[in-house]
Amino acid sequence: MGRLLLIVMVSLAAGGCAFGTNHVVLPAALTQEMPATGDLLAVRVKDSRTDLSGAQVGFKRNGWGAKTGSVELANNESLAHRLGGDLLAISRLKGFRASMSEPAPQDPAEVILDTDISTFLVDAKIGWTITLESLAVVKVAMVDARTRQPLWSDVVRVDGRKPDVYAVVASDYQQMVEDLYARLVSALRAAVPAVVPR
C-alpha cells in the first residue's frame, strides 16, 4: 500500500518528464539578399523579459504546478539573436538595405528598427488536465537614426492554447514554441511598413 502511494506520488511529481531542459528546434531562419537600393536600416533587438532570458522560452512544471524544468531554443541560440535574423530578412523583403545593429560609420543607417521582446513564453496550467499556453508580445518602432525622432511604432501580440493535455511530451513543447514563433514572425512581417513613414 505504502509502496503504491509512493509510486503514485512520484508519478504525479515527475509526470510528463517535468525535469531537465527540453530543446526546441525552430525551422531555418528567413534569408533575403540585400536590395540594391532603399533606405539604410539598422535592426536592433532587446530582450526585456523579466523572468526569462537568452535561449529560454518556457517552463516545465510537475503535477503540483511547480517549475521543475526549462524549455530552450536549441544550440543555446538566444531568442533576440534569432528574431534579429528574421527581422533583418523581413526588412530586406520590404525593400530596406538592412543590417544588424550599427552599420559601418561611413555608411550610417537612416532608420533604426527598434524591437523589444516584452514576452515570449510557453507555460503549463495544471488542473484536472494540463493546458499548454503561449504568449508573445513584441514592440517594434522605427526611429530616425539622426534625430532619434519616432517615425512609427506598433505592438504585436500572438498567443496560443492547447487544452486537455494529459501528459506533456517533448513534441508538445516543440509544437507550441514553433507555432508561437511562426505566428510572431508572420505578424511582424505584416506590421513592419515597406516605406519609412515620414
Binding site: 523579466t50 523572468d51 516584452s118 514576452t119 513564453l121 507555460d123 499556453e133 503561449s134 504568449l135 508580445v137 505592438v155 501580440r157 498567443d159 492554447r161
Partner: protein, 127 residues
C-alpha cells in the same frame, strides 16, 4: 521496579507497527487540518519601512499600469501571469517586500493586487 518505571516513562514508548501507523496517521491528519485552518487566515501583504497607504496605492497603481502596458490586449490566460510577474517585480523594485501574514496584519502592511479580476480592473485593494 525503577527499571520498569523508567521504561514506562519513556516519552516515545515502543509501539507495535499497527499502532505506530495509526498514531502517525492521526498526527498527519491533525497537521493537515491545522494547516488547512490556519493557512486560510494568512494572506500576502506588501511591506516597506516608512511607507504610507497613499504611497502604496500610488505605487501599486503605477506598477499595474506599467505591467499592463507591456502586455496589451485581453488580460486572460498566460497574460495574467506575465502581468502579475511584472507587477510584483515593479513593486519589489520600489523597495516593497511581499510576505504572508496572519490577519490582522502588522501596521505598514498593504494588500496589493492578488486576483485576476483586480488585475484586469487595475484596482488597488485597501490595507
Amino acid at each position: 521496579m525503577l527499571d520498569s518505571y523508567r521504561r514506562s516513562a519513556r516519552p516515545f514508548p515502543r509501539l507495535c507497527p499497527a499502532e505506530a501507523m495509526r498514531r502517525s496517521g492521526r498526527v498527519l491528519l491533525l497537521a493537515a487540518i491545522l494547516a488547512a485552518t490556519l493557512g486560510g487566515c494568512a494572506r500576502y501583504y506588501w511591506m516597506k519601512a516608512g511607507s504610507t497607504a497613499e504611497q502604496f496605492d500610488r505605487d501599486s497603481r503605477e506598477c499595474v499600469q506599467d505591467a499592463k502596458s507591456t502586455v496589451p490586449g485581453p488580460v486572460s490566460g498566460l497574460a495574467v501571469d506575465v502581468i502579475d510577474q511584472r507587477y510584483r517585480t515593479c513593486l519589489a523594485g520600489r523597495g516593497y517586500v511581499r510576505e504572508k501574514q496572519f490577519d490582522p496584519p502588522a501596521p505598514g502592511s498593504y494588500r496589493g493586487i492578488e486576483s485576476e479580476e483586480e488585475l484586469a480592473a487595475g484596482a488597488v485593494s485597501k490595507p
